[in-house]
Symmetry: C2
Subunit: 108 residues, 2 copies
């Protein structure tokens, strides 16, 4: 079970979100990931630490490189948690909002 607090905090940074997208499909080495950004390599390394602590990425060592890959289970749980905010009322409220929007449009 992930810590939602650290997960949401990790997702707050745009660089970290881009990192997750990068390694969603396949694993990549730390240096390879860093090369996709303008910031320095240590900065990216720190982002990787944050993402790993949030269990959004998994790390495996291979020779002298470290390979990072997204941890789909955690992201999935974050999505589930976000959806549970609405506890099934999402659809209801959405329809309600659309209805109100329609009424407002029709009034004009």
């Amino acid at each position: 079970m992930p810590d939602f607090d650290s997960a949401f905090r990790a997702l707050a940074d745009p660089t970290r979100r881009r990192i997750i997208e990068l390694v969603a499909h396949r694993g990549m080495t730390a240096g390879d990931i860093a090369s996709h950004f303008r910031t320095t390599r240590p900065a990216v390394s720190q982002h990787l630490t944050v993402l790993r602590n949030a269990e959004l990425l998994s790390e495996r060592r291979e020779g002298r490189t470290r390979i990072y890959q997204a941890n789909p289970k955690t992201v999935d749980e974050v999505v589930q948690h976000l959806q549970s905010f609405w506890s099934g009322r999402l659809q209801v409220l959405k329809r309600q909002a659309e209805r109100e929007e329609r009424q407002q449009r029709d009034r004009q």
Copy 2:
């Protein structure tokens, strides 16, 4: 279309996430919301501003009160965006991870 950056940043704070849960079902006045927290009312008011700017809440004025309610459309879009990180590979990777976990368990 919401600004994902401000939305994710808004969700990074635990108090703000609790606020969203509070007003997911029904609208509540600013003071009513603030009474659910230990922090001062102005602090909560600032959180409400952040959430409104991220379009996660909608505000309507009623007399001398302001009523806040979650904006399901934006939350929904954030969820969609998170899921799109995986572009359909979520299930694949999840099964893969579970398979690896099983293998690792069986090895012990």
